[in-house]
């Protein structure tokens, strides 16, 4: 599951990178920092990325989820900080959904 979600996020990054200048392109690595002072994306960029990931999850896994849910928005350490934390958060959402 983790591998698949990582692939889905990389696919979304490919889409985002098409619109970005060379210097701003996101590296496809789990260590890539998305948000914060070292992050490459501004708030609109994060919104755009999360929306594409949600749509790709619908297409690839046939699951409808809301990534920016209440829990994500209230955590002290944002799950959107790096690609790795984002992968972990989405995997958790999908597991919870399957347990429902």
């Amino acid at each position: 599951m983790k591998k698949k979600v990582t692939e889905i996020i990389y696919q979304a990054i490919n889409e985002i990178n098409e619109e970005l200048d060379q210097a701003l392109k996101l590296e496809k690595s789990t260590n890539t920092v998305l948000m914060g002072s070292n992050g490459k994306l501004d708030s609109l960029g994060i919104v755009h990325l999360l929306v594409i990931i949600e749509q790709n999850i619908e297409d690839e896994l046939d699951e409808i989820i809301t990534i920016a849910d209440e829990r994500a928005m209230s955590q002290k350490r944002s799950p959107f900080l790096t690609i790795e934390t984002l992968v972990d958060y989405i995997v958790m959402l999908l597991r919870e959904k399957n347990d429902e």
Binding site: H48, I64, T66
Partner: protein, 234 residues
């Protein structure tokens, strides 16, 4: 299936203004998706209907997923669904309050959010929300309805700023009373007194509303956002 025709989603299409808008835009070569809680008793070419409560997040998200899979995009959202209840505050049950707030505020918010997700990818979108003259006229007996629509004005103004960078405009139209079910329970004298506050003292027509929507959604209106237009001269 990709299509060059504009794809429009209208909420509350079972009757009244919503149904008129569905028929009007289908006639004008739009592909229209509609929704309502109850089933519809009409069929139109290029019209697809979903049965759902606009404040039911799960069902709304499934509908948007289906729209995306079928059409690949959404161009226009008309947030028409709304309910009202004419009651003195001392006679207003909390259940009625929650119902009005859920449909009018939560429903509009949810549709704006999900529609924007579809629109932002193409960097184009038009959202038209519904306000009401009951808010500026401070109509007695309409406290909850009017304040729910006051919230729509704030929602429209603020999200117009948040969505501008995505090429999405957000505006609202505030109809005067139109002869629909929404005002069926309002006494005639009350309606006449209401109409007397308008610069033009007549009931609104459905076409008055579609005229304002036409203006908001046309491509040339890409510099018009965060605005509200009241009909009738309030």
């Amino acid at each position: 299936m990709m299509n060059d025709q504009p794809i429009m989603l209208i909420t509350g299409t079972r009757k009244g203004i919503g149904r008129y808008l569905a028929e009007y835009y289908v006639k004008n070569k739009y592909i229209v998706i509609g929704c309502s809680r109850g089933v519809v008793d009409f069929e139109l070419d290029n019209y697809q209907h979903f049965n759902l409560d606009v404040s039911d997040e799960k069902k709304v998200k499934i509908m948007f997923s289906q729209i995306r899979k079928k059409y690949g995009r959404l161009d226009i959202l008309i947030n028409n669904a709304g309910i009202a209840s004419m009651n003195h505050i001392l006679l207003t049950p909390i259940k009625t309050v929650n119902k009005i707030l859920n449909t009018n505020i939560v429903g509009s918010f949810l549709f704006c959010r999900e529609a924007s997700k579809l629109m932002q990818k193409k960097r184009f979108g038009r959202i038209v929300n519904f306000s009401t003259v009951a808010t500026p006229l401070k109509l007695e007996g309409e406290a909850i309805y009017a304040c729910s629509k006051a919230a729509i004005l704030s929602l429209t103004e603020i999200i117009s700023k948040e969505l501008a960078d995505f090429g999405i405009t957000v505006n609202s139209v505030g109809p005067t009373p139109v002869k629909t079910d929404l005002i069926r329970s309002v006494p005639k004298e009350k309606m006449e007194s209401l109409l007397s506050h308008q610069a033009i003292n007549r009931y609104g027509k459905f076409s008055d509303i579609s005229n304002v929507i036409d203006f908001f959604i046309k491509p040339e209106s890409d510099f018009i956002t965060g605005q509200n237009i009241y009909l009738g001269g309030i």
